[in-house]
Amino acid sequence: MPGLTDQKSLRTAVAQATLQALREAEIHLPDDVKQALERAYAAEDNPVARSELEAIRENIRMAESRNVPLCQDTGVPVVYITIPPDVPFTDAIREGVEDGVRQATAEIPLRPNVVSPCTRENTGTNCGMGMPAVHCTPGEAFTLTVLPKGAGSENVSALRMFLPSETRAIKRFITETVLRAGGKPCPPVILGIGIGSTADGAAALAKEALLTPLGEMNPLEQEIYDAVNALGIGPMGLGGKTTCLGVRIREGGCHTASLPVALNVQCWAARRATVEVNYP
């Protein structure tokens, strides 16, 4: 059993990593997302779509030069941690994440977004009632990844339980969900799709799919990408070629009588950052 000093230093190390990762994610977009936006800008000829993408490009520059968050919806952080065998998996990890989020909220600063679901009372710290969500898996290195997620895109995410015979309906379901969402999720969007597992597992897979950087797509990802972009919704729903910057699918084994499909919609401000936790 690790001693109290170890617990304290573990908590501090995780808090520092959380603050550092959030600062990076909230202010700087990952390179793969920036490059995808540049490609979209080069491809657009619709003047409204071009001006929307121009505002996004200027915004990315402004956030970096002013050292402020890209979007006022700084989101709620989702945290993914890999823990090597020599690090004790204890409450200190979760407590460290909460410390880091509280610090980030005051210092970066972040908008306090976490409220009680029914009373809507704001905790003021982005912590409380099980928030932030923390997912831990064993790993070789001690790393911490944050994926802060705003509500505009999260609110149009969807889950559907299909019949096992309905695999061909997946593309239609995703395309229809994006169509109904229109400009609400701040397109151009990135689509994280979870296929398989259980209802809760598919939702988790869909969000985890967003951790994979944009790049070459598999045939189903490409098919969905082409279908969604053919809709012409365009940046912000004002029309244009670019509705979606990329599609990422993660699959999980599932019950023979089941086919869960979850979609997690990510806005163009696809914020994520990974840092190494400095412990011991």
Binding site: V68, G152, N155, K184, C267
Partner: protein, 178 residues
């Protein structure tokens, strides 16, 4: 590009959906909670020619840090009283419903600001005051002076609605695809 400044007058009636404009002068943020309170307690600023911005900014030490638009559709059923009181422009993202489009007819416009562009917005804003601070940072009504905010006219005063046009075209493409 049209350069608009508040208080807005009849010049907004000639704008057409798809036009690019810039907006300068005072604007007031309001989200769901602020709309509900204003409906009950009255509008705390002069609504004549005003622009209401659907936004919950990040504010620190009296400075606007980040102030992009929030989803306007949540305010679909909460905007009529503002337009009745003389508000000339609603600013937000994602478009608004049929009711608002009709309420804007002959009176005002809905201006789309690029979602997520909070740092760009903040770089052109100065905080001037606040109402309803007890509602919390995102829901309070912040009085902000802005300089040349770049916007797209999405709903005009003649019923032109770019979001609706795009949606109808997309629905048609979807129906042909599946």
């Amino acid at each position: 590009m049209n350069a608009l400044s508040t208080p807005l007058g009849d010049e907004v009636l000639t704008l057409r959906a798809g036009d690019r404009v810039t907006l300068s002068g005072m604007i007031y943020t309001a989200r769901d909670e602020a709309h509900l309170r204003m409906q009950e307690a009255g509008i705390p600023f002069d609504p004549e020619g005003a622009a209401v911005y659907h936004c919950g900014p990040v504010v620190k030490d009296g400075t606007i840090i980040a102030a992009g638009p929030t989803t306007s559709a949540r305010m679909n059923e909460l905007s009529g009283f503002l337009l009745d009181a003389g508000v000339r422009a609603l600013i937000g993202k994602g478009g608004m419903g049929d009711t608002v489009r009709e309420q804007l007819r002959g009176r005002g416009v809905y201006l789309a600001f690029t979602g997520g562009c909070a740092a760009l917005a903040a770089s052109r804003m100065t905080l001037k005051g606040v109402f309803y601070e007890d509602l919390g940072m995102p829901e309070a009504v912040w009085a902000i002076e802005c300089r040349e905010l770049p916007l797209t006219v999405a709903i005009d005063a003649e019923g032109g609605d770019l979001f609706r046009d795009v949606r109808l075209a997309s629905e048609k493409i979807f129906d042909e695809m599946f």
